[in-house]
């Protein structure tokens, strides 16, 4: 598309709110305020390489990975059902699926707290069945549950949009040629839905790896993730330099994972985000 004056507001917007702040983060991450004024340093990055911070990084990636896999396993069949042929039911299903997203994300996470508590709904139900109460809240599993619950729509919706665009004739042709349903899925549906899967994975992995609210509320502050670390540096310690360095590392992780993902999405056949 030819550039015209319509695009300038967006360019200015991006400059002010994306490009310049990014430069500032980069600037903070490589400088240090000393008595002699600002000096260039890589100390903050070196500090990040200490085992304790690497451990936090790996935990973040590990939990985000588990969350992404679970979202894919749960979300793909869901997307197939949504994209199915039963039109009457389909609209209601999509509607029901999207409704929770109208509610604030924090509220939904708080709601999980009251469900999982020791005296919460689930444990009340268990004790009513005369079963021993479970320690559900403030565990690693609770954190993963919160992530999966909150980010599942980001997996389902892109896959759904790709699946619903697949030409039905391709599937019919395959069936005519004798392919059973497993082969149809393996050879036709899944490969065609790959762009949706990839954007789904990126859209789930990114917020999962950077979240700090879910781990604080459902993990009870016991499972420090990279997002918590950054928040702590900016809000409590006031060490903007180290916080910026962690943010840069985080961005690098996301860029790398996006780079890896985009290698599998060479064709860019719609549905993909990038």
């Amino acid at each position: 598309m030819k550039k015209n004056w319509m695009s300038y507001p967006y360019i200015v917007w991006m400059l002010i709110f994306i490009f310049i702040p990014l430069l500032l983060v980069l600037f903070y991450s490589v400088t240090m305020r000393t008595d002699q004024g600002l000096i260039f340093t890589l100390d903050h990055y070196q500090r990040f390489l200490e085992p304790i911070y690497l451990k936090v990084l790996f935990r973040s990636i590990y939990l985000a990975f588990i969350c992404t896999v679970l979202c894919l396993v749960l979300g793909y069949p869901m997307a197939m059902i949504l994209a199915g042929n039963d039109f009457k039911r389909k609209n209601i299903m999509v509607f029901l699926f999207v409704i929770p997203m109208w509610m604030n994300f924090l509220l939904r996470t708080y709601a999980w707290m009251t469900l999982l508590e020791r005296r919460g709904l689930i444990n009340t139900f268990l004790s009513w069945l005369r079963l021993a109460p479970l320690n559900l809240l403030y565990t690693q599993e609770a954190v993963v549950l919160g992530m999966v619950y909150n980010f599942l729509p980001f997996m389902v919706l892109p896959i759904y949009s790709v699946l619903s665009k697949i030409d039905q004739q391709l599937i019919e042709a395959a069936e005519d040629l004798g392919a059973d349903s497993v082969t149809v899925f393996r050879k036709i549906i899944f490969p065609l839905s790959l762009p949706g899967v990839i954007s789904g994975i990126t859209m789930v992995f990114m917020p999962a790896v950077t979240t700090f609210v879910i781990s604080r509320l459902l993990g009870g502050g016991q499972f420090t993730l990279i997002g918590n670390l950054i928040e702590q540096q900016f809000l409590y310690v006031g060490d903007w330099n180290f916080g910026s360095a962690i943010s840069m590392v985080m961005m690098l992780v996301i860029l790398l994972s996006m780079g890896v993902m985009s290698r599998y999405d060479k064709e860019h056949e719609g549905g993909g985000l990038w």
Binding site: V56, R216, G221, L229, Q232, L235, V237
Partner: protein
């Protein structure tokens, strides 16, 4: 062509609205107040606005560090702040505060003498105390059979996964140092290392490290023991009669929140009016009654419900506070506390 003219008209309209409204504002001074969340009786602000014809823009923060970082980075343009002791000290050291003109604050006379000239502001030039309190253990007496007299009970295997710790570096490390018999303001690496090891050892027993949600959890009986601030304890005990508050014998943190004026304020005289207003006996009483923390104001204290005055949580005796300490500003040593806290929580 037509479209662009309409656009131009809109822009002009927008600009004129902006100009006109900003003119309107000039007549009335706006005082920007930055306080802790839920830390004032809001009706007091309305009374002030009516009485002095000054508009108050009221804003809240949740930790000293939060507030400090915002002021330091030049944000907000506030006229009155409510930092705690060590934050006041830090801001004084860094030249971030105006000296107060006490001729404009005659109600300072009502502040009890023992709350004047404290360590963080030894000459009492910059700050006027607003509220004070302690940190202690809140416990549910139906779940805790042992006597709660020491911080050590938070390390007792019997209460595994029933203990709530504060998700606040200085408080949690501070009480651990106290338990070990060290100062809360230590800069000794060996002592800090010992505190770190103790906290790591305690971690399997801890249900969660929480902030304000401690109130919900303790009131609903989710946990047996929690580290809480005294004013919150008063509130929670009102809501759940099984809860009790104890000040451990090793001593605890004694803290003060004070009113100060940042040096960036352009309405110092009005800010002093506001501070003086908050020190008026009736107003100070109203706030104390609403907030539940302890007041340094002699007249406000006289008007309080005697039951609250006898409440050891709100007004502990001098003996109970004997071993307690006030936080000192650690300035750049804070980074080491942060590292310890990260190692505890990330382990």
């Amino acid at each position: 062509m037509k479209k662009s003219r309409r656009f131009l008209l809109l822009v002009l309209l927008g600009i004129s609205i902006l100009v006109l409204t900003s003119c309107g504002k000039e007549e009335r001074i706006v005082l920007n107040v930055y306080n802790w969340g839920d830390y004032i009786d809001e009706s007091v602000i309305k009374t002030f606005e009516k009485q002095f014809k000054i508009k108050v823009n009221y804003d809240t923060f949740s930790t000293n560090e939060d507030m400090y970082v915002k002021i330091k980075s030049g944000g907000g343009n506030y006229d009155v702040l409510f930092p705690s002791d060590y934050a006041v000290k830090r801001m004084i050291n860094e030249g971030m505060l105006h000296k107060l003109d006490f001729d404009n604050i005659p109600n300072y006379q009502y502040i009890e003498d023992r709350f004047k000239n404290l360590d963080y502001d030894p000459e009492n030039e910059y700050s006027i105390p607003y509220m004070w309190g302690t940190v202690g253990i809140l416990y549910n007496q139906t779940m805790v059979s042992k006597p709660v007299t020491s911080w050590r009970i938070l390390w007792d295997e019997e209460y595994k996964k029933q203990i709530l710790m504060l998700d606040s570096q200085r408080d949690s490390i501070g009480i651990t140092l106290k338990m070990l018999g060290y100062s809360m303001n230590t800069k000794n690496y060996d002592q800090l290392e010992a505190a770190k090891q103790a906290l790591i050892k305690q971690k399997p027993l801890v249900l969660a490290y929480v902030g304000d949600d401690v109130k919900d959890k303790m009131i609903s009986g989710e946990a047996a023991l929690a580290v809480v601030w005294s004013g919150d304890a008063v509130f929670m005990m009102r809501e759940n009669s099984d809860l009790r508050f104890a000040l451990p014998e090793e001593g605890t943190n004694l803290w003060f929140d004070a009113m100060v004026i940042p040096s960036t304020s352009k309405h110092k005289a009005e800010a002093e009016k506001f501070i003086n207003f908050l020190c008026e006996p009736e107003i100070a009483f109203k706030n104390t009654d609403y907030i539940g923390y302890s007041t340094p104001h002699s007249e406000a204290k006289k008007r309080l419900d005697p039951e609250l005055l006898n409440d050891k949580a709100a007004y502990p005796s001098d003996e109970e506070l004997a071993n307690s300490e006030i936080f000192k500003d650690l300035s750049s040593f804070m980074k080491d506390y942060d590292r310890i806290w990260t190692e505890v929580k990330a382990d």
